[in-house]
Subunit: 328 residues, 2 copies
């Protein structure tokens, strides 16, 4: 939620001259996305989002992210469509930063998702995975299980200061995850969003209307994307899992693309691991963010509490999953 | 530049039920205004700005601010028009805060205003003053000259740490302003915007298109509004006054409503005083804002440098003003 880089009118006008989308009539910084500067741009021809990519995004990854949005929007999945400049390119330079224009998506992010919205986001995610199943785009997941011990190293004391014994619990979790992590090639792989929180999903009149913010997307096990969403959409209060929402999200996905048996068996570890990934990156932000930063880091405790739930869960049915045989 | 209060979808839907403007289709926090939380709200019937008034705004002053916008927009001056709820009221409650919906104005704020934009804003301000000349709305200026010594008290050391001898210079300025301040009843009075910075003005295709953010408006000498704008629009770099822009802004205003002789004589002190008002409130914010605040305070040095220019100016011609006899 921030605008890190301001854009002066002259630079904007010169920038827009590189496109065929008319002249600017509205230009407002918006509180969307925590990594980049986002502006609502209305021109004489329509509405767009202009993004300046800030330090945390590796410019080398941008063609991958923009490529995903391009393929999704052309494949009929509601994602922002990158706008090509006159020279055909999607990425330009503005205020010394990589910049891109994408189409504007209507819709609103649910602050407290309902079970029905959880079902819809599960189904939408399965459709998104399907829409990207033929892509040649590839980017390794830089925040996968292999990176976690390194993120935790040196932050044990801070973890212990957040909650009693949290350092030992996390160390135990990391070992358990290493032992239980599914072999990647046994599970369906593909492009995953990897950050599909309610903030990044839009609904319109009760219906799913789009997904934004693909800047953590990568190639990994598809079920890991489900695991991230389950953590992001189905908890309430202090680490309380809402089984109805969990059941809805898993069923929504499963109705569009049925989980394989290996996925059903692997998902509990993936769900536990997804909570670990967000706990650790928030722990890093919590300790590394200077006090005068524009964005206040999110408290890692929320995900420490979710880890507490996952420690006691062992089967996908603990998250509300009903196998076909059980529901038959 | 911040969103202090988040609004959940359920609360928004319930809030919109109190109006006749349709259902929400887009809702985005925007980086506009530093005192309140602002959202771009698109409904099935149009686009609006929803504002939640935060702590720094006295709820008792809100009917005055909304009344000004109401009178201006109905009087043909491009300002946001407050939207009345079904019960006829302009102010409602949302997330425990006073809240209002106003119409959306197209246009963009100039980051580096041109001389032509300075001329246009001068003329627009004179039209705004004229549009409010018959109003019964009244609110005392709580940041007028009488308040300044109190704002500076206890902050002399901090001032000295910002620039050598700044404490003594400001003390001298305050005495000079007290001596030279025009008698209020000798100058035309009325409703002034009191914060008409480039951020709060919109232009569309090179033409002035509107004024927003009336939350510092008050009743005072009309020329004091010109003095504030001259400080905000006509300086560049480090306290460098652009005489061409100054001339343009003063002439733009004077062309619509000619300055009285008393205003021409009083304006140098008002211009100096306007710089003092923003120097002092920024000095207060600079020292009082906690390090973890969402909004970083503006550096008071910018206005200390403007004070340096004003110390050497004594006549309105020092700011580019050409009297009718001189230009005749």
């Amino acid at each position: 939620m921030a605008v890190y880089t301001d854009v002066d009118t002259e630079s904007l006008d010169e920038f827009l001259d590189r496109y065929e989308i008319g002249k600017a009539v509205t230009f407002k910084g918006i509180a969307e996305g925590v990594e980049n500067s986002n502006f609502l741009l209305e021109t004489t021809q329509g509405r767009f989002i202009l993004t300046l990519y800030e330090k945390r995004v590796d410019p080398q990854d941008l063609p991958y992210f923009m490529g995903i949005m391009d393929e999704l929007s052309h494949g009929g999945f509601p994602a922002p469509e990158p706008v090509h400049a006159k020279d055909g390119s999607i990425l330009q330079d503005l205020m010394g930063r990589p910049a891109a224009i994408v189409t504007f998506l209507k819709g609103m992010s649910p602050r407290k998702p309902s079970a029905e919205q959880c079902r819809q986001i599960g189904a939408a995610m399965a459709r998104m995975h399907a829409a990207l199943s033929e892509t040649n785009l590839y980017r390794q997941n830089s925040l996968s299980i292999a990176s976690w011990p390194r993120l935790f190293q040196g932050r044990e004391t801070i973890a212990a200061s957040l909650a009693p014994n949290l350092d030992n619990l996390v160390t135990g979790d990391l070992q358990r995850l290493k032992d239980q992590w599914p072999e990647a090639d046994k599970l369906p792989q593909g492009v995953i969003h990897a950050d599909l929180f309610p903030d990044n999903a839009f609904f319109l009149a009760g219906e799913f209307s789009g997904v934004i913010d693909f800047y953590f997307a990568c190639n990994d096990m598809l079920a890991y994307d489900v695991a991230i969403a389950l953590n992001a959409w189905c908890f309430e209060g202090r680490g309380e899992f809402n089984m109805t929402k969990g059941r809805a999200l898993l069923a929504g996905y499963n109705d569009v693309r049925a989980f394989t048996q290996a996925e059903v068996e692997g998902l509990p570890a993936l769900i536990h691991g997804a909570a670990m990934r967000f706990f650790l990156t928030r722990l890093v932000d919590w300790t590394d963010t200077p006090a005068d930063a524009l964005v206040r880091p999110k408290n890692p405790l929320e995900y420490a509490e979710k880890l507490g739930f996952h420690r006691l869960a062992h089967r996908l049915s603990d998250y509300g999953y009903e196998s076909a045989s059980a529901t038959a």
